[in-house]
């Protein structure tokens, strides 16, 4: 059984949802406090959504220096699977575990609704349960979700197929479109090795048809096949 560590920062608000999603998929989930220095032999790390440190200075800028982040860096460097959701994605960018940055939404308003996205890469620990090209409807809830990166970084992300999720803009549905002005309609990317994934949408809030959708459950089912961490 895969063991998933969900990190709680001061201001996280989706950590319990992430735990429940991992457990529903069949994984063992533990909550790790941001001041801890060990991930407790976890195979997979999830940095959940929320507003760590009140988004002071920049979203994720202070959380990236939390003591647990040294362990996350080591886990990632060893090829361990890391998923950053929303604020977790912002933290991964601030920590330079993923390239680019997430800036204030182009429309300036906080966007909280479901958006159509397309799964573009399935060779990651979090999207292997999907077919490439799968259309999903996932909730977003963020004020700082506009993905930006230098032109050469965007070119590399495209050339190396590192765009994991893209906002669907050619869907005739009313909610179609890029909700925040992200470059290349990017909703999620991965590291060069694919083991680190950052996404703005919240799959952990779409895991049960009884409350609307289980489109997001595949992210957590996928991690059941994630690499088992080797602990020294």
């Amino acid at each position: 059984m895969r063991k998933v560590a969900v990190v709680r920062f001061p201001g996280s608000n989706s950590e319990m949802d992430a735990m429940r999603a991992a457990e529903m998929a069949g994984a063992d989930a533990v909550l790790v406090w941001h001041r801890d220095t060990s991930l407790g032999r976890a195979d997979v790390v999830v940095l959940p959504g929320g507003f760590s440190y009140g988004d002071y200075l920049r979203s994720g800028a202070i959380a990236r220096f939390s003591p647990i982040m040294a362990a996350v860096q080591r886990h990632a460097a060893a090829g361990g699977a890391v998923l950053g959701i929303c604020n977790g994605f912002q933290i991964l960018c601030e920590a330079h575990l993923l390239p680019g940055a997430l800036m204030r939404n182009a429309g300036l308003t906080f966007v909280s609704r479901r958006v159509p996205v397309t799964v573009e890469r399935t060779t990651t620990p979090f999207t292997s349960a999907y077919e490439r090209g799968t259309a999903l409807s996932l909730p977003v809830a963020h004020g700082d979700g506009r993905y930006v990166a230098a032109p050469e970084v965007l070119a590399t992300l495209e050339a190396d197929a590192r765009v994991v999720l893209r906002y669907t803009t050619d869907d005739p549905g009313a909610d179609s479109g890029n909700p925040n002005g992200s470059a290349h309609n990017i909703a999620g990317i991965c590291s060069a090795d694919g083991n680190i994934v950052g996404i703005m949408p919240h799959p952990e809030r779409a895991i049960d048809r009884e409350i609307g959708s289980d489109d997001g459950l595949g992210f957590f089912r996928s991690l059941l096949a994630a690499p088992v961490a080797v602990h020294a």
């Binding site: 800028a61 220096f65 960018c93 940055a101 204030r104 182009a106 429309g107 300036l108 002005g181």
Partner: protein
């Protein structure tokens, strides 16, 4: 010695600054004709203890590179004066 450091962090010129645009539109609608290229950044002031002015500048720049500014999206300037 103690120095007062003033850091000015601005969004990089090539990047969309929606806050600046919104404020620009507001200024124009208030009648401030000819207003253009409004950009919004942040100012940070702090005290630094250092042995020299150069050392204070170096310390402030290190603070900017590591935390106060995001090298992907922002540029910064540092001013230092003796306390």
């Amino acid at each position: 010695m103690s120095f007062r450091v003033r850091v000015r962090v601005m969004p990089r010129a090539a990047l969309l600054d929606p806050q600046g645009q919104a404020v620009e539109n507001a200024l124009v609608s208030l009648g401030f004709a000819g207003t253009g290229d409004v950009r919004i950044g942040r100012a940070i002031e702090l005290d630094v203890a250092a042995t020299s002015r150069d050392a204070a500048v170096a310390r402030a720049k290190e603070m900017c590179d590591r935390l106060l500014a995001n090298p992907v999206t922002e540029d910064y300037t540092v001013e230092v004066e003796t306390r």
